[in-house]
């Protein structure tokens, strides 16, 4: 039996070559590790768990509270509007009218008229017309403080106003030319609501046609609601006429 002999004794040049090759590999790994400031395989960050109070189940928000729908397709972000549901497509409470020309004078006229209307149609009561502005008519010192102090009279004023308003027809052409027209007509009202005699113009608008329409509003009305029990002897009424919207 032959003695043990290495099958392939390494040649003398292979030992240095193997040494250089291994040295190269170690050197490469060492350089790579120096360039990395962390581990080669980082541990994942621990999951932060925070205990919070579990909320109670709540229903889906109502339609009105929902965020606006995201619409598909391209659209201008500036044009994005919240999409109310179809039931919100309702008739406006205020009728929309054609806009007036934007000239300064017409805007001023409109402002003045709005101011008048706001003042004239103020709540009858502590803040009624005579109290809320310095504008008065003859005998305005006697204008009743109805409303809070006299609810029955306040109600009568509203009812009478509604009836007379239906019979006030100034020419639209007149008001288109000057929206600030204002006239006042005075009448006596009998307890049963009958208008006693003809109305007299107590403050002229400066335009006979408009004054005539104001006076005629009473004439066409014929009869107002009976005066309230608190005024069994009747009333005097001052009608202030302004241009309709």
């Amino acid at each position: 039996m032959a003695g043990f002999r290495p099958r392939h004794p390494l040649p003398s040049w292979e030992w240095p070559a193997a040494f250089v090759a291994h040295g190269f590999v170690f050197l490469t790994v060492a350089v790579a590790r120096c360039g990395d400031d962390g581990a080669l395989f980082k541990q994942p960050e621990p999951i932060m768990v925070e205990l919070v109070a579990a909320s109670q189940a709540s229903r889906m928000p109502q339609r009105a509270e929902r965020a606006p729908d995201v619409h598909r397709g391209t659209q201008d972000p500036d044009a994005a509007k919240p999409p109310p549901n179809p039931s919100e497509l309702s008739l406006p409470t205020e009728p929309t009218r054609g806009t007036q020309s934007g000239t300064r004078s017409s805007l001023l006229d409109e402002l003045r008229r709005e101011e008048l209307l706001k003042d004239l149609s103020a709540e009858v009561g502590e803040t009624d017309r005579a109290a809320s502005s310095g504008q008065t008519t003859e005998g305005a010192g006697n204008i009743s403080r109805a409303g809070v102090r006299d609810p029955a009279l306040s109600k009568w004023v509203q009812a009478a106003q509604a009836v007379v308003d239906k019979n006030f027809h100034p020419l639209p052409a007149l008001c288109a030319a000057n929206r600030s027209l204002l006239a006042e007509a005075t009448v006596s009202v009998l307890p049963d609501g009958t208008i006693d005699g003809d109305a007299s113009v107590s403050k002229s608008s400066g335009t006979g046609t408009f004054d005539g329409a104001c006076r005629q509003a009473f004439a066409n009305t014929g009869r107002l609601p009976p005066t309230p029990p608190t005024h069994p002897d009747g009333l005097d009424a001052v009608l202030t006429c302004v241009c309709p919207k």
Binding site: G73, Q75, L120, Q161, P170, P172, G212, A213, D233, T240
Partner: protein, 438 residues
């Protein structure tokens, strides 16, 4: 009691008696209340229109049309002639009658008319008075062939409205529509009051969506006369109809550019409907304006021709969009509701009317920037195909609120609504012309 004491007591009693004597009772102050009127809109102005001086059926027809026009306008309420107290011998000119006779029935405006034969023509005269002021507002005379009594009445109505309101009226316009009166859908034209109907097509087919050009001389519409929905143009002055687009697929929803040099319409070149512009004479395509998956239909030009509103499904359901007339810069206009169609751009350029589905179909208006949506009709049948009056204060549309489809007119605030057509219905696709010279 001494004598002196008695005198003193007597004097004191006399003094007390004098001062305690009740004088004349002071009258309590009479209560004065303030009323304010003029806060409502100017509508239903009471107007008296006594019988037209003249004789014959022409006068009756003239007066009937005139009264109907004034009611349609919404400005006036005609006072019942039974309430008139003026004596029969009163005239029409100033000084020939007493204004007090017209204050009695409550008239604010008085319109007196004359109609007379004049060399084969009819001559109408109208005198308009402000009853409250006792002044003449104006007078005007018109002349027309004897067969045109209706047109004389329309001109008279325009004059009265102009004098009373200082606003240009619309009775010199017409409405084109699709009428289904004989089992076929034909194109017709009628006066604003629903009378004076003229049939434009007689092909016994389906003719839809007529649209006026700016001058009112031509109508474009879609017809199935050749089996396919093709686009036709009717020249109303020459009484000629020609086909201008017969491309494969649909050729529908036409709209004239304000200049009349092009028509926008919907074609379906690859099966998908897109908006293009074509030459109204040669029929050649000028430009393709949309290129989107989903429908793009129903174009309508802005009054200056710089923009086009249309319906697109690019965001899901049908909504109103507006783009530049070259197809660029499309922006969505409507965001309320899930189904908005049939846009119509207002003559003033600030609003778009459209049909929204809210249960039934209703007419709405919205500002061009998408704000200020407001409702014109509500909860009364289906209301479709809105079209603006030239002054932008009214809309016409078809409505089924009475059962059958009729043409209705509404003020843009929806307060005043009146049925224009009569009979058994079948009126759809109304489109309002501009002011016409014919």
């Amino acid at each position: 009691m001494t004598k002196r004491t008695a005198i003193l007591l007597g004097a004191t009693s006399l003094t007390i008696g004098v001062f305690a004597w009740p004088g004349e009772a002071q009258e309590p102050a009479r209560t004065v209340v303030g009323l304010v009127v003029g806060q409502g809109p100017s509508r239903d102005i009471p107007i008296a229109i006594p019988a037209t001086e003249g004789s014959g059926a022409a006068s009756d027809e003239y007066l009937r049309v005139l009264r109907r026009d004034l009611e349609i306008s919404g400005w006036f309420k005609i006072i019942d002639p039974k309430a008139y107290v003026e004596p029969a011998e009163a005239g029409v000119k100033p000084g020939e009658f007493d204004f007090a006779d017209w204050r009695t029935p409550g008239a604010a405006v008085l319109a007196k008319t004359l109609l007379a034969d004049q060399g084969g023509n009819q001559r109408a005269e109208v005198w308009v008075y402000d009853v409250n002021g006792g002044t003449k507002l104006g007078a005007k005379a018109f002349s027309a062939p004897a067969s045109a009594a209706r047109q004389l009445a329309h001109r008279t109505a325009d004059t009265i409205i102009q004098l009373v309101t200082q606003e240009k009226s619309f009775f010199d316009t017409r409405i084109a529509f699709t009428g289904n009166f004989s089992g076929n859908k034909e194109i017709y034209v009628m006066d604003i009051d629903g009378g004076g109907r003229r049939q434009i097509t007689k092909n016994k087919s389906i003719n839809l969506k007529p649209r006026w050009n700016a001058s009112g001389s031509s109508l474009c519409f879609t017809s199935y006369a050749a089996g396919n929905p093709d686009l036709y143009v009717a020249d109303l002055l020459k009484s000629a109809i020609r086909r201008v687009s017969a491309r494969t697929g649909i050729n529908t929803g036409c709209a004239w550019a304000p200049g009349g040099d092009r028509i926008a319409l919907t074609l379906s070149p690859g099966g998908d409907s897109e908006i293009v512009t074509i030459d109204p004479f040669a029929g050649t395509q000028i430009a393709r304006l949309t290129q989107n998956p989903g429908i793009d239909v129903s174009p309508t030009y802005s009054p200056d021709g710089s923009k086009i509103a249309f319906v697109s499904e690019r965001s899901g359901g049908p909504q109103i969009y507006a783009m530049n007339a070259d197809g660029t810069g499309a922006k969505r206009v409507t965001f309320q509701g899930s189904h908005n169609t049939d846009p119509s751009w207002s003559p003033q350029g600030d609003k778009i009317a459209f049909v929204g589905r809210d249960g039934g179909f209703d007419v709405f208006t919205v500002n061009v920037d998408g704000t200020g949506m407001s409702r014109v009709t509500q909860g009364r049948g289906d209301n479709e195909d809105p079209s603006w009056s030239p002054d932008g204060n009214y809309l016409v549309f078809s409505s089924t609120r009475t059962g059958a489809a009729h043409v209705w007119l509404a003020s843009t605030d929806g307060d005043h609504q009146v049925q224009l057509t009569e009979g058994g219905g079948g009126y759809t696709n109304p489109h309002w012309s501009g002011h016409l010279a014919w």
